[in-house]
């Protein structure tokens, strides 16, 4: 049962990253650069590379999570990425800014607010669950190999 829950959590997390990546990649990178800039956190010279590469990293992460390879590490990277994102949003919110998150492309109605923080907080928890699930599965005692009598 626990194993299936881990798989479901991993697939949901993978889907979130794939959808977010696709929504941004299909748009001109300038649109995502505008969204990043609205957080007033990233220096202008980094906006372009970030707007181009971050969606590609999300795509790679989504594919990695979907594949099930090194789940604990990719789950951890996903959690850190989401937590960084939520941290940046919390800073902007505290400063009274109303940035367009742009998480799922422009015009996704992703304005910061309690609902946004609840949703993204849940995603961070999901990431943690996937990562810890991966570590727990790694530590779980493996069944002993079947002994085969020598000489048979």
């Amino acid at each position: 049962m626990r194993r299936w829950l881990n798989i479901a959590a991993r697939l949901i997390l993978a889907a979130i990253f794939l959808v977010a990546a696709y929504a941004k990649i299909k748009e001109p990178w300038l649109q995502f650069a505008v969204s990043i800039d609205s957080f007033k956190l990233v220096p202008e010279k980094y906006l372009e590379p970030m707007a181009i590469w971050l969606p590609r990293c999300e795509l790679a992460l989504g594919i990695a999570l979907l594949s099930g390879i090194a789940v604990r590490w990719f789950g951890l990277i996903a959690t850190l990425l989401l937590a960084t994102f939520v941290g940046a949003a919390a800073r902007a919110y505290a400063m009274g800014l109303t940035p367009d998150c742009g998480c799922f492309g422009a015009g996704g109605g992703d304005m910061l607010g309690p609902k946004w923080f609840a949703e993204h907080g849940a995603m961070v928890l999901l990431g943690l669950a996937v990562s810890f699930g991966g570590f727990a599965a790694e530590r779980a005692p493996k069944p002993a190999p079947e002994l085969v009598p020598v000489g048979d």
Binding site: P28, L30, D37, E44, L47, G107
Partner: protein
């Protein structure tokens, strides 16, 4: 009776200027008049070379603070580096947002000024003085600061009486719906027949980099 006859030409002129009479002639001339009006109204919103490889369509709302910031800080740089050099053709589009009380009136003033060849100076003044009129709607006072009394009188008359003044606005809004606008300011970058909608306040540095890359392609 004599005084009635004297008043008759005045009455005819007044009636002739009302929209009701302007709509009564046959359908074909009416259409031609509207098309001509719309054409005149949009021409003054265009700048730059018609053969420029990129067209930038700028959707703004006169009462939106982010549009003001874009208009006053980014647009002059865009105009200098790209429009005046023939790389970009710029087209202003009106997108008055329903939550803004005075934006439609501001748009009428700007478009009326466009009819007398003063669009740029009045649009600039309306944006610049936005903090002064967005509480009381007194746009007239602000526009009067940049026009001569004679010009101002013409603009006031057009704002009050020209029923075709909003035609280009309706067209811009329809276009905005096609471009899936959900905020102002929004830029639509048209390059090789493809329209890219970029919503939000963008810095000039990043816009320049984007346009430069398009031109290098």
């Amino acid at each position: 009776m004599k005084s009635f006859l004297l008043l008759l030409p005045v009455a005819v002129i007044l009636v002739a200027q009302t929209p009701l009479v302007a709509q009564t002639p046959a359908a074909a001339p009416k259409k031609a008049v509207i098309q001509k009006a719309a054409l005149t109204q949009t021409n003054f919103k265009e700048s730059g070379s018609p053969s420029a490889p990129i067209t930038v369509e700028l959707y703004t709302d006169y009462e939106c603070p982010a549009c003001r910031e874009f208009y006053l800080s980014t647009l002059p740089l865009l105009t200098n580096d790209f429009v005046k050099t023939g790389k970009v053709r710029l087209l202003h589009r009106d997108y008055p947002l329903p939550q803004h009380q005075f934006t439609k009136l501001a748009t009428r003033y700007a478009n009326a000024a466009g009819q007398i060849g003063k669009y740029d100076v009045v649009a600039h003044q309306i944006f610049e003085s936005q903090p002064d009129w967005d509480q009381n709607g007194n746009i007239d006072v602000q526009v009067a600061k940049v026009l001569s009394p004679a010009e101002m009188e013409k603009v006031r008359n057009l704002v009050k009486t020209d029923s075709n003044l909003d035609d280009s606005v309706a067209k811009d809004q329809a276009m905005g719906a096609q471009d899936r606008l959900n905020q102002t300011p929004t830029l639509v970058i048209v390059y090789k027949g493809k329209r890219e909608t970029i919503g939000g306040l963008l810095s000039y540095t990043i816009l320049k980099s984007y346009l430069d890359k398009k031109l290098e392609q």
